[in-house]
């Protein structure tokens, strides 16, 4: 891979992409057996169901489409941007994947990204992969999507017709919160494994990711806004939503 020629954008133009100070991908050696086992059970379940769902939804489009979308998330994660508070960070993209592709395809794509990062780039561990898929795929993407949908529905119910407001509010809150919660989960897992005391882990991980989440939310909102303006048909619509729009247009 030509990782060496990747440069960050923004204040450090021309400098190699900097590594985040506190990373989210847990490497091997940091978790104990029970934590890894429980995380693996959940993430294998998520993988199995999302593979089935994606195969049913996309059929023979699944391979090319999921493949390029995973490559897209990987590429998007390499661009650095300034984070409020002075440092720079990059997108994690879990909620973005959920908003764009839906809960199942979104979490499958994110899991594929983590697998490639662990297998080929050693970013995150192999036996810790289950925990990483659990934190950022199941909670960050799958959970992030449903949080987004709940908030969007709440906002849209008050303001009938203005779908954009719900989309932006939902995206902002869900992408910020999913990053913070995933960071908190890392701290909890490290604490249960006896690697880092809970208070210390929570303070450093969550404290740091409160700001990272802010950057994540701002960039995710601007991405989703761009797609909403230029190709709104590409944003994921759940089957229930589609049915509602159809019945509404039939009534008119």
């Amino acid at each position: 891979m030509m990782l060496s020629h990747l440069f960050s954008i923004g204040p450090t133009i021309g400098q190699p992409m900097s590594q985040p100070i506190v990373a989210m991908h847990i490497p091997d050696g940091f978790l104990n057996v029970p934590v890894m086992l429980v995380a693996w059970i959940f993430s294998i379940g998520l993988l199995a169901i999302s593979l089935k769902k994606v195969e049913a939804d996309y059929q023979d489009r699944a391979v090319p489409l999921m493949g390029v979308c995973a490559a897209f998330i990987f590429a998007a994660q390499m661009i650095n941007f300034p984070i409020p508070g002075g440092t720079s960070g990059h997108l994690l993209g879990g909620t973005l994947a959920g908003v764009l592709l839906g809960p199942w395809a979104g979490s499958l794509v994110m899991s594929i990204v983590f697998m490639v990062q662990a297998l080929i780039f050693q970013d995150g561990g192999i036996i810790a992969l289950g925990a990483n898929i659990f934190n950022m795929g199941l909670i960050g993407t799958f959970g992030g999507y449903y949080l987004f949908r709940t908030i969007r529905n709440l906002v849209d119910r008050q303001q009938s017709g203005h779908q954009f407001k719900g989309l932006v509010t939902g995206t902002a809150i869900a992408s910020w919160l999913s990053v913070v919660i995933a960071a908190a989960l890392v701290a909890v897992e490290l604490a249960i494994s006896g690697t880092v005391p809970l208070a210390v882990g929570l303070t450093s991980m969550v404290g740091w990711h409160l700001m990272i989440g802010l950057g994540e939310a701002l960039v995710t909102v601007s991405t989703v806004t761009f797609i909403w303006r230029s190709r709104p048909d590409l944003l994921y619509t759940s089957s229930r939503q589609r049915a509602e729009t159809l019945s509404r247009s039939a009534l008119r």
Binding site: V63, P64, F74, I79, Q122, S204
Partner: protein
Amino acid sequence: MLHSHDHHSHHYAHSPIQQAASTPLSLNVAPAIQVLCALIMVLAIGVTPNGHWITGLIYGMGIAIVLFIRPVNLTKLAQRLAVESVFVIVAVIGLLFRDGEGVLWQWGGLKITVTGLVVLGSVMGKLWLSLLVMNLLTMTMPIPVLLQSLSILKIPPLLIAILASMHRYLELLIDEFMTMRRAAIARNLVAGKRWQRLVVGNMIGSLFIRTYDRGDRIHQAMLSRGYQGVIVNQTSVRLRRRDRLALLITILFVIFGQLAFYLV
């Protein structure tokens, strides 16, 4: 497409043929078995309890022997290890702020305890040993072979097909991103932080639109070449004697490493 694939193969320093020629000692074990042995090794390293130094030492020596049989560029290996062990900072923070028995050093809220040192040492040891194993694997095995090995190891074919498809387009998409980035910088991106974030967001959005359309085009191209979904071909390897031997040696070695702690 073809171009990108061609381009890719240049990144693998050794072709399988060269490897076999340059390392006469290499036992020529089937790739799937190599992957399986590496996974067993990483699993064994991962489940080692903290403070079992002798186990770590034995595993380290085992990896050193493999490194001798199958040499890789050591500078490159060291560089990769350094970049990959950023997470160590978390462990160091954990060490400094931990309460525990046997305080060795204290300065205000910071203290170093024996418990903290044992955890830090064990975690770093396990981290570096597993990184060594995985780096050795990926530095000596082309990615397509690695993916093929995974399918032999009963990973679902659809998952492997998506992994392979992602790997194929990864470089292409990164290149496209870099082009957009250059264009943005040429148009004076440096204006302000809010502006930068907005532009990055728009870039990601526009890349997604291009990506989705590209996915559709690829799908059409695949269909026109007769694609009818993932073919489930039962690729199973017939284990040769040396494959069985390699697997057996790995398993025995791993168990020996774990038992050594109780024997000493």
